[in-house]
Point group: C2
Chain length 444, copies 2
């Protein structure tokens, strides 16, 4: 009998918990703890191998007690709480997996984890997660073939599936809205044709690339934070190009950029009297005092856009020029924008979501320049088994299984970039319809 | 005998220490401590009332010892170190004055300072400092006349004196270059005609106002962080307009904005291989990879400016398109820009600096709308007795004297916004040629 301790029963936990329950005849007990035990209970659905309970990560005693009696810990808690769990796991000699970015605090536990023989595995969801696994599998394959990698570009988007893109943005929230509103806030840094490139926040949504996805057509890609660190992670030191991006439907970025230009995505200060502010006043507060023209015209003039453009239609559709009261006090611009968007960009019943991921590899093999595309398109099953929940939860669960079954037991702070992890996980993901399609062409 | 402990012998300390030494026959001993004792010695210049010594604020024992034997402490240390001094002052029952913005940490000492009967006086330099004193004197005067204040706008600039503005920017560093490079980074928030207005960093230098200063002509003003908090500080709750800004010569802001648009003022990340990077590569790294046109043309196209404009001349004059190596590793964009600017914007021997401050007050008196301007222009004496050093150091020294002589003894965390402080200080500043000229006109 092995106990899997799942901490957090939020959005991404459904597919992961189901995976464990479905395979519980391996001798697994699945204990799911959440600050809201009802949420945990809904995930377990009376399954005999499952147990739901109230869990408070800040309760030191409970944290130790639960981790002590587990065989592996899967933390789906908010990222800033992982460290508390990781520290206890090292102390108590328990393995741990998460879908979150490896933090410096957890990285610092590497030595003590090694000493204790504990695996602290990070970044095992979709992005980060499947991106690492699929990229590294291909990179290792190109190397094995004798190819010399020159360029690597990788982009991912959490989107609405075709047929459900029924608004002018062709976008709805399929994941944490906060992250979408704050996206690009740190700018983007990458390597292009041997030159380091740096884009500040207020240019991220103007410096976009276009990609083509088989059967789905064109998408826009905007740069994603610091791509440069991936050279180290992936062991790629002679690259000329290294870029990571986020995928949206065409037209999204130029319209979103309006909010960035206004300053409406700022999360660093609280605005005055937001309770009585209207959407229209919110937008107006970012522009000069002037009463001779309507807010719409002022916006178009201020940012140099055509008042009759598709971009302005997208803004109008969001209701940002309406006299609707915000009704909540003490909000930052980003929180107000999020509130306005949540009403409009919510999934309708029956809507399906979609994950699109595309890697591009340029490599030299026998003096010839090849370009290989590797593309994953995965559409959610329904409103519970969303593409996001499945692509985050399933690889995470599969990595946990690799560790639980002793297939992987390299101690220390880990990422899923080694064949012993990525090969079996990518293989098993195919059973769920999560797979990559490759295309290759000779460039010169 | 009273001991004045001056901590920090940097840029702003000259006029302050000289003021104390000149009046040392009041029975004052002036002890000047700096991490570099030679700097302290240069300020004292063998004056019998002065003593220079090595001072390390992080040495707990020395800190306590020195503060214990002082009658008042003037901290000119970097702002983040004031708290260490303030805490010790409260504990040891000593009064303290600084020219820095009141920090939340020091604000939190208010109650314990009151209990101990200790004065913790902040913001007694020029900006903040003389701005508070002169504004509050005028605000109180308008109130006393029966006027109802509707708008208050206040701007200050540390500039080069006329005759020495001999570069295309009409600007040189007369103060901490770091603050100039990072200026505007938090955006600007203010109140205009009853509407709250918010400007993000990347629009601050585009949303400028023009002011006229008697005998000096036109200046540009860009918004200065959070003007809204001053309503509370100044006790102004029925204002329609409240704005604080920074003054530059015309043309400065549009050219500076180029750096902001590029992302060259970012201080949040370290660039790659800055040691071998040239100025030209620095600028190029913020733009798309493209080799068919020169960097200058690419910049003009990217930001929509005319390649033959005065704005581009200003950039060229700085040498940012030259192949000069930066030569230092591990720098942020802001630090690189600062390094480039420091070489070009340095004061030449014989150059004089200038402080310009202008308040505008709109008020209603007997149903008539009046506008009153109150303007200070102060030109430095020489390269030691700069306008900056005098306008920062003298009011600070005068406030210290008010406290030392028992003229002011209200305990707690204080700002120089009460008549008992601002009246004598503004009066005494006139003796040094630091004074305001008023102009009033009837608007309607």
């Amino acid at each position: 009998m092995q106990t899997i301790l799942v901490l957090g029963a939020g959005l991404s936990s459904g597919s992961l918990i189901q995976y464990f329950l479905d395979q519980s005849d391996r001798g697994w007990k699945i204990r799911v703890g959440d600050i809201n035990p009802e949420l945990a209970r809904q995930r377990i659905k009376d399954h005999p191998a499952g147990e739901a309970f109230h869990f408070d990560v800040f309760n030191h005693e409970q944290r130790s007690l639960e981790i002590r009696s587990a065989d592996i810990v899967v933390s789906l808690l908010p990222a800033r709480m992982h460290y508390l769990v990781a520290e206890a796991c090292v102390e108590l000699g328990k393995n741990m997996v998460t879908a979150s970015y490896l933090s410096p605090a957890i990285k610092a536990l590497d030595e003590s984890a090694r000493k204790k023989g504990v695996v602290l595995m990070n970044e095992c969801g979709v992005d980060p997660g499947i991106d690492h696994m699929s990229a590294m599998q291909m990179i290792d394959k190109i190397k094995a073939e004798g190819g010399c990698l020159k360029a690597f570009e990788s982009s991912t988007g959490g989107l609405v599936a075709p047929g459900f893109e029924n608004n002018p943005w062709q976008y709805k929230f399929t994941w944490n809205p906060r992250n979408v509103v704050l996206a690009g806030g740190e700018g983007a840094r990458f390597l292009h044709n041997g030159k380091f490139k740096y884009i500040p926040h207020h240019k991220v949504f103007r410096r976009i690339e276009i990609i083509e996805v088989p059967e789905l057509g064109a998408f826009e890609v905007y740069g994603n934070r610091d791509s440069l660190t991936y050279r180290e992670t992936y062991g790629l030191h002679n690259l000329d190009t290294m870029f990571r991006g986020t995928i949206r439907r065409p037209g999204f970025c130029e319209a979103w950029d309006i909010f960035v230009q206004l300053g409406a995505t700022d999360n660093t200060y609280v605005m005055e009297d937001t309770e009585n502010m209207t959407h229209r006043e919110f937008i107006n507060s970012f522009m000069k005092y002037r009463t001779d023209i309507p807010v719409e015209t002022k916006l178009a003039l201020y940012l140099g856009v055509d008042e009759e453009s598709a971009m302005m239609d997208r803004l109008r559709w969001l209701g940002i020029f309406e006299n609707t009261r915000i009704g909540i006090s003490g909000l930052t611009p980003a929180r107000i924008l999020q509130k306005i968007l949540e009403e409009k960009w919510k999934l309708d019943p029956g809507d399906k979501d979609m994950i699109v991921m595309q890697h591009q590899f340029d490599f030299i093999l026998k003096d010839q320049h090849f370009k290989r595309y590797s593309t994953m398109v995965f559409i959610g099953k329904d409103s519970k088994q969303t593409a996001m929940s499945m692509t985050v939860g399933l690889p995470l669960a599969m990595v946990a299984k690799q560790i639980l079954t002793g297939q992987f037991n390299e101690p220390g702070v880990q990422l899923p970039i080694i064949p012993a992890i990525y090969d079996p996980v990518l293989e098993e993901l195919k059973e769920y319809g999560i797979y990559f399609v490759e295309e290759e062409s000779l460039i010169s």
